[in-house]
């Protein structure tokens, strides 16, 4: 597993300068480790406090150990939907009168269920009944809307001078983040603890409409987005990594606030949350506030793990999407989870292939053969927690075909299986890894992301730095061994996007 880095085209170093400190990762990062205080509340919630007093600001990063991989058929998209709902407020924030609003929200659910039941009859549904139920549903929503103080959570953060309020959902995680001036930290303790103590999923069905628009934007109306969805659906036949994180349109039309509450109860408990607070903050005070505010979260057992495993792939799979788009080639090979002992070897392969101007895909395919406009390859798509794909992509230059590009990509992949990489090239990877980690420590926000990810996936944030020791141990033989084991024909899925001619286009999904 590789630390995140915002730095693109980080240069790789070729020569191990003896004076360079990267050989001894621990020493060089000891200084940083001193700034970190960690504690776990009685209910299992984990905190990391990183002191950086350069400016009176603090960044808050909450990593919830739940993602779209925890979804099942019927509620695809729910992890992301809940993320949206976590901005809707609580029993105290975003309401004019919680007691009455609660009843009104229940009424909305009942109206939706009645409407859905009629819709479920399909062609046998009564037109008049549908219209009436739809009207009742609208009226119920309007009724509940009367109690809402819209977007109060966001407004409170804005009014305090907050920055960067947002959240994201991926296969393995849902994260929530923003920054505040350091005198306003208690506001975060308040809002974030209420968010996971008493979230109110108000305006649920309208927000589902917003998420459907997000799906139309990212997937339905975007050729590459559409292709990624098809590609993963083909590459995975068993594991939930094959399902779209944004959710199937029918699920986004049909899941309910009750489903979302159940998802929350099942997956959001104190022990599934890890928070990193980085900036001008006193760890003692942070602990006092954490115990007061987050100590209120109930201790609940963690959900059952995902036990469905993707079986070994035994045939090459291919997908062709014809779209209003120039050609793309995607290639994915199944690999173990990022935490597997070979994780650093896969990271090294990704780095050799696609980091920097001297990386193999750039130098050979862009500069020398001039066959692609761009290409890359990296491990752990779409996620790191469970076995993901080693994922390659390439965009053909005008006049080159996908078939030519695919062949050229295999040329580079086969090179890794046949020839040993030079020690010099591998040293570049190691040097680059160190630069990348240093750069990730340059802002409160990126520190939060980095530490939380390692804490949750490996059990210890210090592995951000131990990872350097691991990557330093990678040998040319490791690279060849792993490449041979992974990059086989029967283990791969290949996707093409080709320009559709008139008449060849699939009809865009119905709007709903």
């Amino acid at each position: 597993m590789k630390p995140d880095s915002r730095t693109i085209r980080l240069a790789c170093a070729a020569v191990a300068l003896l004076s360079a400190p990267w050989l001894a990762a621990q020493d060089s990062f000891a200084e940083f480790e001193k700034k970190v205080t960690e504690f776990t509340l009685d209910n299992g919630m984990k905190f990391l406090i990183v002191e950086r007093h350069n400016a009176p600001v603090v960044s808050f990063y909450t990593y919830a150990d739940v993602g779209s991989a925890q979804e099942v058929k019927g509620i695809t998209g729910m992890a992301h939907m809940f993320e949206h709902m976590a901005f809707k407020g609580t029993r105290k924030v975003g309401t004019k009168n919680w007691a009455e609003e609660k009843n009104a929200l229940d009424q909305v659910d009942r109206a939706f269920l009645a409407l859905r039941a009629e819709r479920d009859k399909g062609s046998k549904a009564g037109k008049e009944q549908l219209a009436e139920l739809d009207k009742a549903f609208e009226a119920a929503q309007e009724g509940a809307g009367r109690f809402v103080v819209p977007n109060e959570l966001g407004k409170l953060i804005d009014s305090a001078g907050g920055r960067g309020l947002n959240a994201s959902t991926a296969s393995d995680k849902t994260d929530y983040f923003y920054s505040l001036p350091s005198n306003a930290i208690e506001l975060w303790f308040y809002l974030e603890s209420e968010r996971f103590l008493n979230p109110v999923l108000r305006e649920f069905y309208k927000e589902a409409g917003v998420v459907r628009e997000e799906r139309r934007m990212r997937t339905d109306s975007n050729p590459v987005g559409k292709m990624i969805e098809e590609f993963l659906a083909v590459a995975y036949k068993a594991h939930p990594y094959g399902e779209p994180g944004i959710g199937h349109m029918s699920d986004l039309m049909n899941f309910t606030r009750i489903d979302a509450e159940a998802f929350f109860q099942q997956h959001y408990m104190a022990s599934s949350l890890t928070c990193v607070l980085a900036g001008d903050i006193d760890p003692k005070r942070a602990r006092t506030l954490a115990e007061a505010y987050f100590g209120r979260l109930p201790k609940r057992p963690r959900p059952e793990p995902v036990r469905t495993a993707e079986p070994r792939q035994e045939v090459e799979k291919r997908v062709l999407l014809k779209a209003q788009s120039q050609p793309w080639v995607l290639i994915g090979y199944h690999k173990p989870a990022a935490t597997h002992p070979d994780g650093p070897v896969y990271d090294a392969i990704g780095s050799l292939l696609s980091d920097g101007r001297s990386s193999r895909l750039y130098r050979r395919l862009v500069t020398e053969k001039k066959i692609v406009a761009g290409a890359g390859g990296f491990p752990d798509f779409p996620g790191e927690k469970y076995p993901g794909l080693f994922f390659f992509y390439a965009a053909a230059n005008p006049g080159k075909t996908n078939a030519e590009v695919e062949k050229a990509m295999y040329g580079e992949i086969d090179d890794l299986k046949t020839n040993l990489v030079s020690q010099e090239e591998l040293d570049g990877v190691k040097r680059r890894a160190r630069s990348s980690i240093i750069n990730s420590l340059s802002s409160n926000t990126s520190i939060g992301m980095q530490l939380a990810k390692f804490q949750v996936l490996t059990g210890d944030w210090r592995n951000v730095f131990k990872y350097l020791d691991e990557i330093n141990k990678v040998t040319p033989e490791d690279v060849r061994r792993v490449a041979r084991a992974t990059f086989t024909e029967s283990n791969r899925t290949v996707g093409y996007i080709e320009m559709a001619k008139p008449g060849e286009m699939a009809k865009p999904g119905a709007g709903n």
Partner: protein, 727 residues
């Protein structure tokens, strides 16, 4: 840091005050803190905000080198790195329109091509050994240079940066590579609907001929020479045009000495400072409704845009708050109305982007499903009208101002950001304390000021409205809003290689050759052709192997055609009625995108019979070219240019028989642009006309399509309606 007990006490006190404010009936008692625990606030307003710790404004050093370069230095010893960034007085706005792409290619090849002492690829290796990056970039109004490295490598990185700035080698091979990359970018620029929409909004609001909206095209790339790069570099890359900022882990005296050693020796260029290129408002599209028809999407992109002012304008502060309340964030009206309340959009925002030295834009963006396009537009227009109708509320004004003012500490959270800000102020001639002035300006904004701003800038008849979407699925026609102008977003196809101006001799020789060709192909019989039809077997080379298609095609000499194809996947028809191309598969009939129609029109001009019928007529120019080889055969060559459509075709002629051996032109095959060469391997005689029965077509040197004609018919029974789009 304040001791914990003070805060706990404050929080408790405020909690109690909050209870006091709450009306009866009495509420349950506040949750009792566990022993040793701080109390929690009941409501957000109960939370006490202590005084903010002091904002340490990092002290930046500024000095000017003898050669005129301005330098900012800021120490930051937190991490063992050194970063530098430079603003250079250049930009795409200074490149000639006919050579659009020149500025960006110059910047990129300064890096990839290396210097005279350090060839590009070796430089990649050298930088790799240093674990450093040195890069150049190009914007519309400035160029950039940057360094990122570990502190021990700073010296080497500065030596490289200085070398590249002063002595770029600009090798032809890297220029060609960069052009190829730029061509790929052009080919791919219509792949993402949001990308198309954003680009075309800009082209409308500034005007597609404005230097603030031009983009590289195949033709402008072809026009760029190495000499152009040399001239552009020497004109703009001079030390007096550079503002350099350096921050990170260094000793300022040593860094200053390093800069003097490496960049201080760069000799002055002596060119005057390039003046601001003003925006020409006459180039802009008129306010009104514009449409990009896209049939493969289920979501409409809706954008409103108009030119707004500069950051130096007195109403900058009012406008900032006005746009923030309209569509800035979670608290904004557009977000609350269109996203939260109506559930119509994921993206709904307003953006006020005043320019630093030219007028910027005020814009609104919404993405909504096709079926609610008009509903969303109306809601958006309603919010604009509401802003201009009455003052905002006190709460809205307070939230907006607080969000800007209370976040002051973030303006000093990173040293890179502090340096970059000062560099930008310097570059555009703003005072160094402009940030403080900005805060003071925001502080003074009133509800009346916001209303005045809305009334000035939100006049709806001043906006360009651009909708990208599938109109067939819209809830109501866009024409309800007024006349709708379609936007041509097609990619201008590459023009053929430029021919030298024809000499009278070459023209005469060309006409004579073509007369011979025409005679060989049927003479008067050829002139009598009005319509031809063919039944053919076509083999298309695809990545998956050859694909065979049966084709029945009819074409008329006024450019119309209809083609029926029987493929392994089923039957398909395509047609062109002279204006519009269409396709039919099964019961579905679709109109082709505008770009496709343009291609069909061009391909009609290239038709061999049409060329031979018309080459001597007005509008056509002919010139003989030197002989060449076609698959080892010597052939004569004549270029025919159809001037109205700027289409040039090269006919390749067997000098012995006068029959055509082939034809070449710049066009596209199966949607891929490039150089097309047709070779004619056999002919058949049909009603006195000699027509090719076996043709091999290649694209960029690779075989693409092979056609074997089973039957030709000249002037078969045909009706004009056969070319029209079936109903």
């Amino acid at each position: 840091m304040k001791p914990v007990w003070t805060l706990t006490a404050a929080a408790l006190g405020l909690s109690m005050a909050a209870f006091a404010q709450t009306a009866a009936p009495p509420k349950p008692a506040a949750p009792k803190p566990a022993p040793g625990r701080a109390a929690v606030a009941n409501l957000p307003k109960d939370i006490a905000f202590p005084k903010l710790n002091e904002i340490k404004v990092p002290q930046t050093q500024r000095f000017v080198l003898a050669n005129g370069m301005t330098v900012f230095l800021l120490e930051d010893h937190e991490l063992p790195t050194v970063k530098a960034s430079a603003l250079i007085r250049t930009g795409t706005r200074y490149e000639p329109a006919a050579k659009a792409g020149l500025a960006a290619i110059t910047a990129e090849v300064m890096r990839t091509g290396g210097s005279t002492a350090r060839p590009g690829d070796k430089l990649d290796d050298e930088l790799d050994r240093l674990a450093a990056t040195v890069e150049f970039g190009m914007g519309r109004a400035s160029g950039t240079a940057s360094i990122s490295c570990l502190k021990e490598d700073a010296e080497k990185a500065f030596i490289i940066l200085a070398d590249l700035l002063q002595h770029p080698a600009f090798p032809q091979e890297k220029i060609d590579l960069e052009k190829e990359q730029a061509r790929a970018g052009i080919a791919r620029r219509n792949d993402d609907p949001m990308g198309i929409h954003g680009r075309e909004l800009r082209r409308l609001v500034y005007g597609k001929l404005s230097p603030y909206a031009t983009q590289a095209e195949y033709a402008t790339l072809d026009a760029i020479t190495r000499q152009d790069l040399l001239v552009f570099h020497s004109r703009y890359y001079q030390p007096e045009n550079v503002i350099l900022g350096v921050w990170g882990d260094f000793d300022p005296a040593a860094m200053k000495a390093l800069i003097e050693r490496t960049l201080g020796v760069w000799r002055k260029g002596g060119h005057p400072r390039p003046p601001v290129v003003e925006v020409d408002p006459t180039l802009a599209a008129k306010p009104g409704v514009y449409l990009i028809e896209k049939t493969d999407v289920n979501q409409s992109n809706i954008g409103l845009i108009r030119l707004a002012g500069k950051m130096s304008d007195p109403d900058y502060y009012d406008n900032t708050v006005m746009a923030d309340i309209l569509g800035g964030g979670f608290a904004s009206r557009l977000f609350n109305k269109i996203r939260t309340e109506m559930g119509l959009a994921y993206a709904s925002s307003a953006s006020y982007s005043p320019g630093m030295d030219i007028p910027g834009t005020l814009s609104v963006f919404i993405g909504t499903k096709s079926e609610t396009t008009m509903k969303a537009i109306e809601a958006m227009k309603g919010e604009l009208a509401r802003m201009a109708a009455a003052e905002v509320t006190d709460a809205e004004l307070r939230t907006s101002k607080d969000s800007i003012l209370k976040g002051e500490a973030f303006d000093y959270a990173s040293t890179g950001q502090v340096v970059s800000r000062l560099m930008n102020y310097e570059y555009y001639g703003y005072p160094a304390d402009f940030l403080q002035r900005f805060r003071a300006g925001i502080e003074k904004v009133t509800k009346a000021g916001v209303l005045a701003s809305a009334r000035k800038w939100l006049q709806q008849d001043q906006f360009i409205l651009l909708v990208l979407g599938k109109t067939a699925d819209f809830d109501q026609p866009l024409t309800k809003l007024g006349p709708v102008t379609p936007v041509d977003y097609s990619i201008p196809q590459p023009e053929g290689p430029k021919l030298d101006a024809a000499t009278p001799q070459a023209e005469q020789a060309g006409l004579a050759l073509l007369a011979k060709v025409k005679a060989a192909h049927g003479g008067a019989a050829l002139d009598a052709v009005k319509t031809v039809s063919q039944t053919a077997e076509i083999k298309i080379s695809t990545p998956q192997g050859d694909m065979a298609i049966q084709q029945e095609a009819t074409g008329s000499m006024d450019g119309k055609q209809v083609v029926k194809m029987i493929t392994p996947m089923g039957e398909m028809m395509q047609g062109f009625d002279g204006e519009r191309a269409w396709a039919k598969q099964g019961p579905t009939v679709r109109e082709a995108p505008a770009a496709q129609s343009a291609l069909a029109k061009q391909s009609a001009v290239r038709d061999t019979i049409s060329l031979l019928q018309n080459f001597a007529k007005p509008g056509y120019k002919v010139q003989a070219l030197p002989g060449e080889k076609l698959e080892d055969k010597d052939v004569a060559a004549v270029a025919i240019t159809h001037e109205p459509s700027k289409t040039t075709v090269k006919l390749l002629i067997d000098p012995a028989t006068g029959l055509l051996a082939g034809k070449s032109y710049t066009g596209s095959v199966m949607g891929q642009p490039g150089t097309v060469v047709e070779r004619y391997l056999a002919f058949g005689d049909v009603s006195g006309v000699k027509l090719a029965t076996h043709t091999v077509m290649s694209l960029n040197g690779r075989k693409a399509v092979e056609t074997t004609v089973k039957e030709w018919k000249v002037n078969p029974p045909a009706s004009p309606s056969m070319f029209s789009k079936p109903q």
